[in-house]
Structure formats: structure tokens, C-alpha cells
Symmetry: C2
């Protein structure tokens, strides 16, 4: 670790020797597994310490380190910005960060959701437009209008339906690993429009600090609901139902009380 | 046609209004369908006329207009060149052009084939290395060693097996549309290594001329077998069996005799 080509390029998440996840990774120093955000304390090498800018509240900044960088990294990698039409598929923990960051990058932001009731929230978060993907007329009208798609859906689904929204040379980035197989790619459509199916996971330390500084400059944090440690099981059940706007954060001061 | 964003960018093959294929396309001027290489004569707008450089023999240059540009365009688009390790999957009409052009671009060229008997030919054509993809040991040894894959296989197949050969940020370009569904993408591997699945078809007129000039400068033509018109049905049967090195070309002077 930290000497392969990926690590040298600041892409520790793609380490050729395998990274150690902050949560549930093999702890090579102490044995067992890492505890991530459930840790009471954590010891890391100074190269892996990040600075949370002073103007970001710690609670709402916490999800930036996962959802925030998960969207920031592919948005930067695929050049989201002024003149680009960026679709964000799914309005959850990842998706709401995608809308905020893509908007702050200067892109034209389109939320794509199965839920008509989420349209107003998406616009409040910064989406210029909303497409209800269960409405064939809306999907058809938006055919070949987007340059870049951030696909935050974590269940298996027909990503090819979203590819129809892409212009020539459009890119769809998969951000979730579904537990079951996805459908086959529509190769004909890909070839006929030079479409790209891409993928991305979190970001390296250098880019994560860049993301934090970017969020600080644009006053971006995650929308959170703070819970006490003893609520964690209820929160998990609610999360599975999508009943959270948009990330739960545990108040670690409640750990000892639990 | 010729006024959409793709056409203005020289990407007529990705015309938003639909291109007209030289072969078996709807002939909007005369009705019926276009006859491509079977035409005795063809009338096109001057913007669609190409110059075959004098040093290229017409017979062996003919397949450059299909197989040549089909490989040249994605090799250029995805920046094949010095320092890049480019794999070409499949040694047929497309694949043998991929080897020649990638080699001339200065890339390190690796032929990936199911057929051990094709290894010597691949090296003669310019491949620096050959991987026999049916040999698990060779495939494992080549894991994460390539930057770019030109996948010329036109039947449905497990393209995920080739993705294992890609380094972080590697790109696999699909060049054939299989008649049946491909397997699902291995999203986990894609996300874990920021891999890209891309696709491409032929090239625009500007890039096709650039390709012809490039081939002229590097003395590249297709390896062909010339046939008479009356042999076309036999040639088709042989082509289906892969019994051609690597493209049949019809001597059009034999058309009247047939």
C-alpha cells in the first residue's frame, strides 16, 4: 500500500494491492475489522487525515466523506461543469449530494427519479429540471439531451433505459454495486451513439480534501437527521425504506449512554 | 443531415437524424436500398468523397474504409499511442487492422485470441505479445496489465473476462453488435478499478481521410484475398467459418462477366 501506481497518483481507493476500507475492512494492524463511523476513536497515518474547513458543521459534513466524495470524484473525472447537462438518477443520500455538487460546479442539473413526490425537493436542492422516469412521455421527451449521468441506484435495474437520455458521446457512471445481476448492456445503442458505461467509487485522500474545500467554498453540506446511538436499529429499518432526508448521522456523544 | 451537432463535428456516423449506410441503407434519393461495395457506380456529394493516396493499392486499401476506420477511430478517441498497452481481442478483419494501426501509433500491442494457431500471424502483423484467452494461466498472468482493449468479437461473449486484463482506468471498446444478449456487466470490478465499457462504429469523413493518410504514411493496407464476383457465395460461406486472411475483396471488373 501507498507505493503502487494508483496510490502514487492519489487514487488510494484503486490501490493495486487492495485498499483497507474504513468500515468493515480487514484491520491489518489490530486484527479484526475496522469500525468506521462507529469507532469511538481511530488512529490513522497523518497522510490520511483530512481537514474539515471551519465553516462546515461537523454533523452535516460527516456524510461528505462518503456520499460527497462518491459524487464529486466522478463529476470531476468526467468534466461536469458549465455547458454540461448532468443527470442524477435517484434522490437519496448519494443523489442529493450529486445535485448539490453538480449545481455548484456550474452544470445544468436534471434529477431523474421514479417518485413524482420527490420533484419539489429535488428542485429545492438545486435541480434545474426533474424527469419522472416512470412516465414514458417524459423519458421520450428527454431522449438524447444529457451529457453525463450519475447513476446512484444500488439495486439491479435497467440502466439502458437511462442511456437513452444520453447525447452522442454521453457517459453513464454507475456508483452502486447491485446485489444481483444487472441486465445486459444495449450494445447497439452504445455503438450507435458512442456511449460509455463507466463506474466509480469514493475518491482518494487528495481529492477528498479538494472536495471538502470545494464544499466549504460553496456552503455545501449533506441534509441530515441526527440520531442517538440507541436509535441505530430503527434508523437502519427506516433507511431500507428510503425514509430519511438524506443521511442519518449518529451523535457519538450518545455512545456511552447506549 | 449534415446540420446536426454530430455532423458539424465531423461525426456523420453519429448523426442525430440518422445516417444513411453506404450498404443496405435507405436510399432517400433513388428509393430502395444502397448497394455499397456491390455498386457498379455510386454518386455522392463532394463532401463525402475520399482521396486514396497514390501509394496505397486500391484493392488492399478498400477494407480500410470499413475495418480500418472502425479501429482507427476508437484508437484515436481513447488515445492509443506511446506508453499505452493496447489489447486487440480477436484476429479477423477488424482485429488485424487493429494490430497494424495500434502498432503504427506507437502503442505496445497485445493480441488476445482464442486460437493458439493465430499467434504467429498476430506477431507477423505487428503484435508485441499474444495472449491465448482460453488458457486461464495466461489470462491470470496478464491481469491488470492493459490500458485499452479493442474488442472486435461480433458474437455474444463474456467481455467481463477481458475486463480483468485492464489496469485501473482501463477502457474496453466494443466494436461489434452481437445478435444475442451479452452477459451482464461485472459492476463490482468496474467500480473497484474505475473501468469503462465503451463502444464505437466506423468514423466520420474527416477522420476517414485522416486514417487513409495515416495508413499511406505507414504503408498500412488490409491483408486481402481477391475474388471474382461469381465466387461471392463461396466467399460468404468461408467468411462465416473465419476462413479468410483477412478480408475478401471483389474484383469489380468481373461483375459484367458474372
Amino acid at each position: 500500500m501507498r507505493h503502487c501506481e494508483s496510490c502514487k497518483a492519489g487514487l488510494e481507493q484503486y490501490c493495486y494491492e487492495g485498499n483497507i476500507g474504513t468500515y468493515n475492512g480487514n484491520d491489518v494492524h489490530l486484527g479484526g475489522h475496522t469500525l468506521g463511523g462507529y469507532s469511538a476513536a481511530i488512529t490513522v497515518d497523518e497522510k490520511f487525515v483530512l481537514n474539515i474547513p471551519d465553516n462546515l458543521p461537523l454533523d452535516a459534513a460527516a456524510p461528505l466523506l462518503c456520499a460527497g466524495i462518491t459524487l464529486y470524484s466522478p463529476l470531476m473525472h468526467w468534466h461536469a461543469g458549465p455547458g454540461k447537462r448532468v443527470g442524477v438518477i435517484g434522490l437519496g443520500g448519494l443523489g442529493h449530494m450529486g445535485v448539490k455538487i453538480a449545481r455548484a460546479l456550474g452544470a445544468h442539473v436534471v434529477m431523474i427519479t421514479t417518485s413524482p413526490e420527490k420533484a419539489a425537493d429535488a428542485q429545492k436542492l438545486g435541480a434545474h429540471e426533474v424527469i419522472i422516469s416512470t412516465d414514458p412521455a417524459q423519458m421520450k421527451a428527454a431522449s438524447k439531451t444529457l451529457d453525463l449521468l450519475m447513476n446512484t441506484v444500488s439495486a439491479a435495474h435497467d440502466y439502458n433505459a437511462y442511456a437513452r437520455l444520453l447525447r452522442v458521446d454521453g457517459v453513464q457512471v454507475l456508483l452502486g454495486v447491485p446485489p444481483t445481476d444487472m441486465p445486459p448492456p444495449s450494445v447497439g445503442r452504445m455503438i450507435g451513439n458512442r456511449l460509455t458505461l463507466a463506474a466509480s467509487t469514493i475518491g482518494g485522500i487528495r481529492e477528498t480534501q479538494e472536495m471538502l474545500d470545494f464544499c466549504a467554498a460553496h456552503n455545501i453540506v449533506s441534509d441530515i437527521e441526527m440520531i442517538r446511538m440507541e436509535q441505530v436499529n430503527d434508523a437502519y429499518e427506516r433507511m431500507l425504506k428510503g425514509d430519511v432526508k438524506y443521511r442519518f448521522v449518529i451523535d457519538m456523544a450518545t455512545l456511552k449512554a447506549a
